[in-house]
């Protein structure tokens, strides 16, 4: 009986005939477009009534990609992680060429893609997402290779899988680099940043995705991803090699470079930029001298019979000197001051850039054979004419070393001091060449300016006050508001930590002097800095006036060049525009072809810009001298030929220039 019953049990399932099916009708999985396509090609006959409502994927579904081209920076990290190598980066030169972005976008081969979404999880910008679209048909195999945009098949589509904090595959947090604490550091000129240990440097290096967006943003195009990778692999030798390919001042740049690279770092889009600058410093700090010996001497060519004079030993001069010497030129650098380095030595305070770091870089430049003649001012100890005679080419990198004044009442007081008057003394004090008494710093000071130089002055003054009076009082005022200060954010934060008070968004009107003593600085609120055309033309609100107290005023509103050393005969042939000398892109002065310029007097505005100018000019000088030598060579051999002919057959007259 049981057996008979059980034979009929399957029939019980007939009831399901009357239930709603839980499976999805075949016809419902197609989009209209796909259905039409399949119908047209007689691949499948679909009931057109049913095919318009495709089943929607789950909210999280890993469907076809979308990529917002505005957000995407073309870093290619998605392509690197793809386990099926489905992504390649296609060049798109019509995209704007801007720092922090590469002119390429991911292209995906859907014949390979496995829809794992690792590309989404690692995308540096969140531009790459997946949509709910999961059906696509086409008879053309090439149509399965395309560049995702923010639409799919030309239509806005619903968002599917996106990354979240848990699935994110990047490390967005920077590894701390130990700093001296404000209370301790503000009474000394000890370097604030202590530098990474090996362990920390390697941890930080592990965050890099090797995209090279930084390389394009760096003025000298340092091989950043490569040296960071070498650090991560604990290959200091390799890292140092990479560094010296493009930058002979890495120890300095590893401390005080303006780091455009970090600003454009792909990781910075969503997190904290890789500490590229500190990593570079780590390489230099940890490379032993004997390692340098091989690496920097290896590429240096033997001296050839051509000489170049360099005026000024700032980053531009040293950059040019280094690469010219590497190419084989004999190089003499003339420096007015007693130590080489320019602003590095006499401007930037030691708590940011100690002498030891500068020495290390410059000693290696000297070591490859660059001859630096200090205490030699061109225009006083040797003339430009002399240089023109003695050398095959001359490079000028004399910088903006003079203070720039401010034209307001009271500014002629002797306690109104320019930044580049004050900072060199601070450095000399730090070196022990001046005593505290030799430097005039009042108990209450005001600094005018909102850039890095103003902060260097303010924070140096703080230190001197602490040493002199045991307390500090520094007020900083700028036209710009606190949130738009031109200074780097770190300067602002650290300055505030050290007790600098801010009076930003105000313009100085008068140095208030009574009985020959400065009482303070009169400020008006600044309404706007630039006019409609973008020219510098600040407007003030007189009603909003205040006087901030201080017995000494520092002016840090920019520096100026000093061209006294250039004789009139040359000056006549060059044009100077807003303090800068006009020259070709690689620094050659048009009407004085043996003269090249670089650094602040050409472009500025920072150290690495100087190095870059130096590097570019070195190549241009080489090209210029090579061309000259070729001409020379040709005329020399022509002469020799004539001699030979004359000797062997004196009866022949040699035709010249085709004429008899």
């Amino acid at each position: 009986m049981k057996k008979v019953n059980s034979i009929f049990t399957p029939w019980r399932l007939l009831k399901y005939l009357f239930k709603k099916p839980i499976t999805i009708p075949f016809t419902k999985i197609f989009t209209q477009k796909n259905a039409n396509y399949l119908n047209q090609n007689s691949i499948i006959k679909l009931n057109s009534r049913l095919d318009s409502e495709p089943r929607e994927g789950a909210d999280n579904i890993r469907g076809f990609h979308t990529n917002d081209w505005e957000e995407c920076i073309g870093c290619g990290t998605c392509a690197d992680i793809c386990p099926t190598e489905a992504i390649f980066m296609a060049e798109r030169l019509e995209l704007p060429n801007e720092d922090g972005k590469l002119q390429q976008r991911p292209t995906i081969d859907y014949g390979r893609c496995c829809f794992c979404a690792l590309c989404v999880d690692t995308c540096t910008t969140d531009s790459l997402k997946m949509s709910k679209e999961y059906i696509y048909s086409n008879s053309d195999p090439d149509a399965f290779l395309f560049m995702p945009t923010d639409t799919f098949e030309g239509q806005k589509v619903k968002e599917g899988y996106v990354k979240d904090e848990v699935s994110d595959l990047l490390d967005l947090k920077r590894v701390e680099n130990p700093h001296e604490l404000p209370e301790e550091r503000k009474s000394s000129f000890v370097e604030i940043v202590r530098g990474y240990s090996k362990e920390f440097a390697r941890l930080e290096a592990a965050r890099c995705v090797e995209c090279g967006v930084c390389t394009s943003a760096c003025p000298v195009h340092m091989h950043i991803p490569q040296y960071i990778k070498a650090i991560w692999e604990d290959d200091i030798d390799g890292a140092l090699r990479q560094v010296y390919e493009t930058n002979p001042l890495p120890g300095v740049c590893g401390r005080v470079c303006t780091h455009n690279c970090e600003t454009s770092c792909a990781i910075a889009v969503r997190g904290e930029a890789i500490a590229i600058r500190w990593l570079k410093r780590y390489i230099i700090d940890s490379a032993p001298d004997d390692m340098y010996e091989n690496i920097i001497l290896e590429p240096v060519s033997d001296v050839i019979d051509a000489k170049v004079a360099i005026v000024g030993s700032g980053p531009a001069g040293l950059g040019a000197a280094y690469y010219l010497r590497v190419m084989g030129y004999k190089v003499d650098v003339y420096e007015e001051l007693s130590l080489a380095g320019g602003v590095m030595r006499y401007g930037i305070p030691a708590y940011r850039l100690p002498d030891t770091a500068i020495d290390k870089d410059i000693n290696f430049i000297k070591h490859i054979g660059v001859n630096i003649k200090t205490n030699t001012r061109v225009g006083r100890d040797i003339t430009m004419d002399q240089l023109e005679q003695d050398y095959d080419a001359v490079f000028l990198g004399t910088g903006f070393m003079k203070p720039r004044g401010l034209n307001i009442p009271g500014a002629d007081h002797n306690r109104v001091v320019g930044a580049m008057e004050f900072l060199p003394k601070v450095r000399e004090f730090e070196r022990g060449n001046l005593s505290l008494e030799d430097i005039d710093v009042a108990e209450n000071v005001v600094v005018i300016g909102g850039g890095d130089v103003a902060f260097d002055v303010a924070r140096s003054a703080t230190r001197l006050q602490m040493l002199k009076y045991g307390k500090s009082s520094v007020k900083l005022t700028s036209l710009e508001n606190e949130d738009s200060l031109p200074a780097t954010f770190d300067e602002y934060v650290e300055g505030a930590e050290e007790g600098v008070e801010f009076f930003c968004g105000n313009g100085p009107q008068e140095v208030v002097v009574e009985n020959g003593k400065i009482l303070g600085l009169k400020l008006w609120k600044c309404l706007c800095i630039f006019d409609e055309k973008g020219g510098f033309n600040p407007e003030f609100d007189k009603e909003c006036e205040q006087i901030i107290e201080g017995e000494q005023i520092f002016i840090a509103i920019g520096q100026a060049p000093d061209y006294d050393y250039i004789p009139e005969s040359i000056k006549d042939k060059i044009s100077i525009n807003r303090g800068k000398i006009e020259a070709s892109i690689d620094g050659q002065v048009k009407d004085v072809p043996w003269l090249f310029v670089g650094g602040d007097i050409l472009r500025g505005p920072d150290l690495i810009g100087g190095v870059s100018d130096g590097h570019r000019s070195a190549k241009a000088i080489d090209a210029y001298l090579y061309e000259n030598a070729k001409k020379q060579d040709i005329s020399d051999s022509l002469k020799a030929m004539r001699e030979a002919v004359k000797e062997s057959s004196p009866e022949l007259t040699i035709r010249q220039g085709g004429k008899k």
Partner: protein, 368 residues
């Protein structure tokens, strides 16, 4: 008698995946048989050496198409052991839910697999429809229906989406309510029983000889050897469940164990959903961005209980960003490759698909 060569290939309704069996038969009795695993999943182990610890998750689930999660789990556990990573508590439970859902889905598939060879397609349709509902749940949780790439070294890739518990409960309740019906349709159905009872035997001696594990072993040796019990991973030690066994392994008993296990899995999932704490679901595996994660030097064997038995990953790390070597112990290797060659002969031709279905054979894990 004249020998006839037959090709039981991927197109056959009773065949699993892209595998095929070359059969030499006399009359309707198989005299010789060889498995051709398909060669579609060759070189996976080698491929793993060329992928980083993280982006290997694009490749690893593919070692078993129908139950990919065991690969992810064994790999993840191995990496975690090498790198000494503490997986967050919640992740353990999430992983168990996924693994047990996968177990149900593959047991259903295998049960439905009886349909093709026995002509009872209703069973196959029903089982597949129910498996499909599990795939819907997987799609919601992981973003994909088949290759989930969800269990990753350190935990899981993302937390469960809000409200998914309801979907899971609803499905489990429904499946449970239809359990008797399912049995009646297949294993209690005299027509099917006639094909599977006292047929396609797996004697204990063969279990030991070939190294069969899982359902095959448990049905033959009457011992509850299940890694979830004997070497608990995730939080299997925190949930209650039975390990069904038999001392007589015919096709019917093996199927019966699978159905019983399905009930046990329902219970485990319910306990997990109840017990799972809130909190993080993923621990960091390495430092920096994922392509620079390194795993300390060493070697490890990690294994999980798959629907077909012990499924293991032997992983060697040289301390770099990629595995130095990965070896996979596919649970169906013994019976699938060796068993078919040595013990399928003697079976009737029409029982060959039942042989493959009830012994548990998954070709990629032989191929890999």
């Amino acid at each position: 008698m004249r020998q006839m060569k037959l090709f039981l290939g991927p197109q056959h309704p009773g065949m699993h995946g892209n595998a095929s069996v070359h059969i030499y038969a006399e009359g309707d009795i198989i005299k010789r048989s060889y498995l051709l695993p398909g060669m579609l999943h060759r070189g996976f182990e080698k491929g793993m050496e060329r992928h980083t610890w993280m982006n290997n998750i694009g490749l690893i689930p593919r070692v078993c198409v129908v139950e990919p999660d065991i690969n992810e789990m064994a790999f993840a556990m191995g990496v975690e052991m090498l790198a000494n990573i503490e997986v967050p508590e919640r992740a353990h439970y999430l992983r168990m839910v996924i693994l047990e859902l996968a177990r149900i889905s593959i047991h259903l598939m295998s049960y439905g697999g009886l349909g093709g060879p026995t002509g009872l397609y209703t069973l196959m349709y029903h089982a597949h429809a129910d498996r499909n509902r599990i795939l819907n749940i997987f799609e919601k949780i992981t973003g994909h229906r088949v290759y989930h790439m969800y269990i990753v070294p350190g935990g899981v890739r993302k937390d469960f989406p809000v409200g998914i518990e309801n979907d899971i409960h609803e499905f489990l309740n429904d499946l449970e309510s239809r359990y008797t019906e399912y049995r009646d349709l297949g294993i209690e159905n005299p027509t099917v029983l006639a094909r599977i009872k006292d047929n396609i035997m797996l004697p204990e001696s063969v279990v030991w000889e070939l190294g069969v594990t899982g359902v095959g072993m448990r049905s033959a040796v009457n011992k509850p050897y299940d890694l979830r019990k004997v070497k608990p991973y995730a939080r299997y030690s925190e949930v209650e469940f039975d390990v069904p066994v038999y001392d007589y392994s015919d096709a019917r008993n093996r199927v019966d164990i699978k159905l019983n296990e399905l009930v046990q899995s329902i219970g485990i999932i319910r306990q997990c959903l109840e017990k799972m704490p809130t909190g993080p679901v993923r621990a960091k595996v390495g430092n920096g961005q994922s392509m620079r994660w390194t795993v300390p030097k060493g070697q490890v064997y990690s294994c999980v209980e798959s629907s077909r038995g012990e499924f293991g990953y032997y992983i060697v790390s040289d301390g770099g960003t990629h595995p130095y070597r990965v070896g996979v112990r596919g649970a169906s290797y013994p019976q699938g490759l060796l068993g078919i060659e040595k013990y399928m002969p003697g079976t009737r031709i029409d029982d060959a698909p039942l042989w493959i279905d009830t012994m548990g054979v998954c070709s990629p894990e032989i191929d890999r």
